[in-house]
């Protein structure tokens, strides 16, 4: 995984940017993710990834991935992406990162909004958010949703993630 490779597929690109620059369609939904403050001696911001899986099974679609994008050299920031172990198996391992509109720097504790892709086919999905922290834990939170999103949904982690809410 190097930064110099050409983006593999348009489908991976920039749903967030597209949603942001066009007039937001009525169906556009947003996920908010809370990264909790963890009171430990050695704290590092977690790697966090969100992806959508069709409820009936099928390919996962990554919505965002926050990792140490800037860390280069002998141990680049991509090295620890495999620690997001569920996402890694579900498709992270086949992606080229960084990816425009998907990847970003790690976030400090707080709540962040990310638009879901505007071009999702209607149907049932599970939004999964996974966090892994250096010298810390790992947690996976699942939120079942229907697209177009009318009701939204929410779930909460207990250690590495706070509330994950789609609305």
């Amino acid at each position: 995984m190097t930064t110099s490779k050409v983006m593999p597929a348009l489908s991976l690109m920039a749903p967030a940017l597209v949603a942001g620059t066009m007039a937001a369609p009525a169906a556009a939904a947003t996920v908010s993710i809370t990264i909790p403050r963890v009171n430990v001696a050695e704290y590092h911001r977690p790697y966090v990834v969100g992806w959508l899986e069709p409820a009936a099974g099928g390919a996962a679609r990554t919505v965002f991935v926050w990792y140490d994008v800037k860390k280069a050299g002998r141990e680049s920031g991509t090295k620890w992406l495999a620690d997001l172990r569920t996402w890694w198996r579900k498709g992270g391992r086949s992606m080229q990162l960084p990816a425009d509109g998907l990847s970003g720097a790690t976030r400090a504790p707080g709540t962040y909004q990310v638009p879901l892709p505007a071009n999702l086919a209607p149907g049932d999905y599970v939004l999964k958010v996974e966090a892994a922290r250096e010298t810390g834990g790992r947690e996976l939170v699942s939120v079942p949703i229907s697209v177009p999103v009318k009701k939204g949904g929410s779930a909460s982690g207990s250690s590495e993630l706070g509330a994950v809410t789609v609305r």
Binding site: T2, E75, S76, T78, K79, T86, R93
Partner: protein
């Protein structure tokens, strides 16, 4: 690749090959089975011991180990070192896909008689020359009537009882997406064809592997599956399983962690003409992650 290589038996290897019932287990333990990108190394421990993966008996020699890259090329061992209880080495995982690292050994061992005296082929100790080529067993008094090669068995030998042994012991390491090139069956001996890939096992999903003998699905292969770190719980949690009629082994994982899988089979189809039996074993260490 050290096929067709008569076993130069270290005590450790002999323990595993000669007596499958022996509890001493030969194992390779990678630091991880999954890496992101192609700039990573895995570092591997290799040893023979009862408990997995707790080295307290003998190291495995790194000289026996071969590295197969996903593109079919042979990779390189770096920094090999042998300690009292375990050896270690590193492998640079510099190509995407699934790598195979481990040992493939074959040999013939057994006994025969010359003038009523029992001789051994293979096994422990130093060979003492062919019968009649000097006073066998004269020095030392230990059971030294031993030859190393089938060709050294004299024409007048009687009661020739030879067993051909094939033993493979592997780990698999994947950079980025897994591939299956290293599982291409050679059609010789006991092999596996993954249904679930050994580098994408999860504790809440059944593992499935098809065992093949000479390239064909092998029913009734006995397989022992043991999770590591027994020290930190009550039971060993070893499972004694058998492949089904389709050669498929179904494994449920009681815990997440590293597992030692050891399969054995025997038949009467040795490639060495003077042998009457063939014993095959396939061993792998796999990593099962928590969901």
């Amino acid at each position: 690749m050290r096929r067709n290589h008569i076993l130069i038996a270290s005590a450790a290897v002999a323990a595993v090959l000669a007596s499958p019932a022996s509890a001493h287990r030969q194992w390779l333990l990678p630091s991880t089975t999954t890496v992101a990108g192609t700039d990573e190394y895995v570092t591997v421990d290799a040893a023979v011991s009862n408990d997995l993966f707790y080295p307290d008996h003998f190291p495995m020699s790194p000289d026996q180990v071969t590295v197969w890259a996903p593109d079919g090329s042979v990779g390189k061992l770096e920094n090999p070192a042998t300690g009292r209880y375990r050896s270690t080495f590193d492998v640079k995982i510099d190509k995407p896909g699934t790598w195979k690292i481990g040992t493939q050994r074959s040999g013939v061992m057994g006994t025969f008689k010359v003038n009523g005296e029992e001789w051994r082929l293979g096994g422990r100790g130093r060979p003492m020359g062919a019968p009649g080529a000097g006073g066998p067993g004269a020095q030392g008094g230990a059971p030294a009537r031993r030859v190393e090669n089938v060709a050294d068995i004299p024409a007048n030998a009687t009661d020739v009882k030879l067993v051909e042994t094939l033993a493979a012991n592997y780990i698999y390491v994947t950079a980025d997406a897994p591939t299956k090139t290293v599982f291409t069956a050679t059609g010789k001996g006991l092999e596996i064809e993954p249904i679930t890939h050994p580098d994408e096992l999860v504790s809440n999903e059944e593992g499935q592997f098809r065992f093949l003998v000479d390239g064909k699905p092998a029913a009734g292969v006995k397989v022992t599956v043991v999770p590591g770190s027994k020290k930190y719980r009550e039971a060993e949690q070893a499972q004694e399983l058998t492949t089904g009629a389709d050669g498929v082994l179904h494994v449920k994982w009681p815990v997440a962690g590293m597992y030692w899988i050891n399969a054995s089979a025997a038949d009467a189809k040795p490639s060495e003409k003077r042998a009457s039996e063939r014993r095959m074993s396939y061993t792998a260490t796999v990593e099962v992650v928590a969901p």
